[in-house]
């Protein structure tokens, strides 16, 4: 009984057609050096390879779960590359491409999905918050962080800072996300809301979350929204860069809807054949973000087969490294689970740590796990 959104009439910022033609847009554009174009391509390929490798490792039982970004590489690399070093990103659980751009070692991501940690990197150092699994929560964190930028006076010119909050189409329904819109508008906070509309929230189509295109949500809160082709890395880059610059120069929040498609399952636990047509997937394959960038590079003679091969070689090496790292990853010391609950340890946890420690020590040859 949900009303389908009318996508047809919706403007979509695009700088690269699915065929790899470079097109121009009145408001957004981008001029990159040849080297930069190539490095965008390289990022797309490497990020996909991380994803493929992690999926394989999950299948082999090395990870408990993996949330694939397949199909969303352009939205993530485009927006991730638009971030300046001083910008702070607040991801969901699927932003492996942004993590890559922010210099987070993919191995730490694997550690999280393996169950070795609930994070693994230092968010302050990477300016990339820990993955947030509870849908929508991080949009408020990003807003608060942006308010802090403002309080620090670190906004106003092109050296200013900005925050970016990633979330999905499904998340747009959460109260928290809408409160983040309220807050950001009220304080004119330097923030970009980057919504990857990958058409699905697990099995739920975007039409259940909104009957109009999601970028329009921002209008109701009094700030601009824009829809970009999320499979177009150049457009994603251009639109995000513009929105970040607006934020850092004091023009307040922007909502970007990156229109894309989740080409894989929601996670490795999911079975999309239960709820969507394979023909949809086929249609979206024609818009593959990597293919179109490769066509572009060839068409513009920015790359030759040697370059493509060198990128593949890099990807192979990366895949080998993370596979090895994953297989060798040590389990955490069980007693470490008591260590960072508080900044200042409590007597209760000292007691419980002691309790578990002496209990475990009582087992000759180790604790018999799996006994329940």
């Amino acid at each position: 009984m949900t009303v389908a959104p009318t996508e047809a009439s919706t403007p979509l910022v695009q700088l690269l057609t699915p065929e790899g033609e470079r097109v121009h847009h009145a408001e957004y554009d981008v001029e990159l050096s040849d080297e930069e174009y190539r490095s965008f391509y390289r990022d797309l390929v490497l990020v996909r390879r991380i994803d493929v490798e992690a999926t394989a490792l999950q299948r082999q039982g090395e990870l408990g779960l993996w949330a694939s970004l397949l199909g969303q590489e352009a939205a993530q690399v485009g927006s991730g590359r638009a971030l300046r070093p001083q910008d702070f990103a607040f991801p969901t659980y699927r932003e492996h491409g942004v993590a890559w751009c922010k210099g987070v070692d993919p191995l730490t991501l694997l550690g999280l999905f393996r169950g070795a940690s609930n994070g693994g990197w230092d968010p302050q150092e990477k300016r990339f918050n820990l993955y947030t699994i509870v849908i929508g929560s991080q949009t408020l964190h990003a807003t608060g962080y942006a308010m802090g930028i403002q309080k620090d006076g670190a906004v106003g010119d092109t050296e200013g800072e900005a925050a970016i909050a990633y979330f999905g189409d499904g998340a747009s329904s959460q109260g928290d996300v809408n409160e983040a819109f309220v807050w950001s508008a009220a304080y004119n906070a330097p923030i970009v809301f980057f919504c990857q509309n990958n058409q699905w929230g697990i099995s739920t189509p975007t039409s259940t979350q909104s009957r109009i295109p999601l970028y329009k949500r921002a209008e109701g809160f009094g700030f601009p929204g824009v829809r970009v082709d999320g499979n177009d890395v150049l457009a994603s880059y251009a639109v995000t860069r513009a929105a970040l610059d607006a934020a850092r120069t004091g023009q307040g929040p922007t909502l970007i809807e990156a229109f894309t498609y989740r080409m894989g399952a929601h996670t490795t636990s999911d079975d999309p054949t239960r709820y969507r047509l394979s023909s949809d997937l086929e249609a979206w394959k024609l818009k593959d973000p990597i293919e179109r960038m490769r066509s572009f590079l060839f068409k513009q003679q920015l790359a030759d087969p040697t370059f493509i091969e060198s990128v593949e070689a890099d990807a192979d090496a990366l895949a080998a490294r993370i596979r090895k790292g994953c297989l060798e990853m040590p389990d955490p010391d069980p007693l470490s689970m008591f260590d960072d609950v508080y900044a200042e340890q409590t007597p209760l946890l000292e007691e419980q740590r002691e309790e578990l420690g002496s209990y475990l020590a009582g087992f000759v040859g180790g604790h018999s796990t799996g006994g329940h």
Binding site: G170, G201, P332, M337, F338, V341, Q352, H367
Partner: protein
Amino acid sequence: MQLTLAKALNEGLRAAMEKDPRVVLMGEDIGKLGGVFRVTDGLQKDFGEDRVIDTPLAESGIIGTAIGLAIRGYRPICEIQFDGFVYPAYDQIVSQLAKMHARSKGSVAMPVVIRIPYGGGIGAVEHHSESPEAYFVHTAGLKVVSPSNPADAYFMIQQAIASNDPVIFFEPKRRYWEKAEVDTEATPDSLWRSRIVRPGTALTLLAYGPMVRTCLDAAAAAEEEGRQLEVVDLRTLSPLDFETIRESVRRTRRAVVVHEAPRSIGLGAELAARLSEELYYEMEAPVLRVTGFDIPYPPSRVEEEYLPDLDRVLHAVDRSLAY
């Protein structure tokens, strides 16, 4: 009929929906997908989108609209996808759902069931392994139950739906795939009674949901050492069936409570407080607690060390018997 616990719930839901057209299911991904655990598998196909509602992604919205549907005379059954995702709905549950009947002096009933797969042991990422039952037991106006086996799952879900009070229905997710015989023609016990699932004389193990199996295993192991442990499956956590609990502990004179939830102010605290007051002269040892620790649920590679298991239960049994 041999059914897994998940399938038993599915059959129970189906039976309830067939019996009463005002029963509707709501939740994220419960329709075509059948829920991430397939508990609602096939129900949308058979009962339609009007009765098995795939909702937008917002838990407060799910519970808030369920309350409105209940005011309209429906009996909504809400699924919360995982334990750790119930908190966005906490306000609607605590301040509205739990209070509406009292606020309206009984003129508005809230026959709403909230199904929550809970507990750890499945190797999941953060927020997918929690045991938040104490929050709801401490909340007046709610009732809280948890089945431990397929037969109970089949009947208890139907009884919860038939109840005119709001029921938080905790499903032991790591037992979803355990199979057992379910006689759908049997006459079920009352939803509000605990059950002695294994009689014994030396000590009473009090458990619910996922830990009942753990306690039964512990009791079986103890028997090999000649100790007869009684195991009580609480089934209802709020209200507690204190009659059955007291009766058992009065006989055995010793009790150990086992739950996955953190220890501080958990169910174990309440049971210990009441038992030590009411059986003050009869008990021969303090009530001991085998529980999760007072820390956030840890990364799954160390969850085995976090969770109570057979060894930890037996360890506590030893300690109790040493008094």
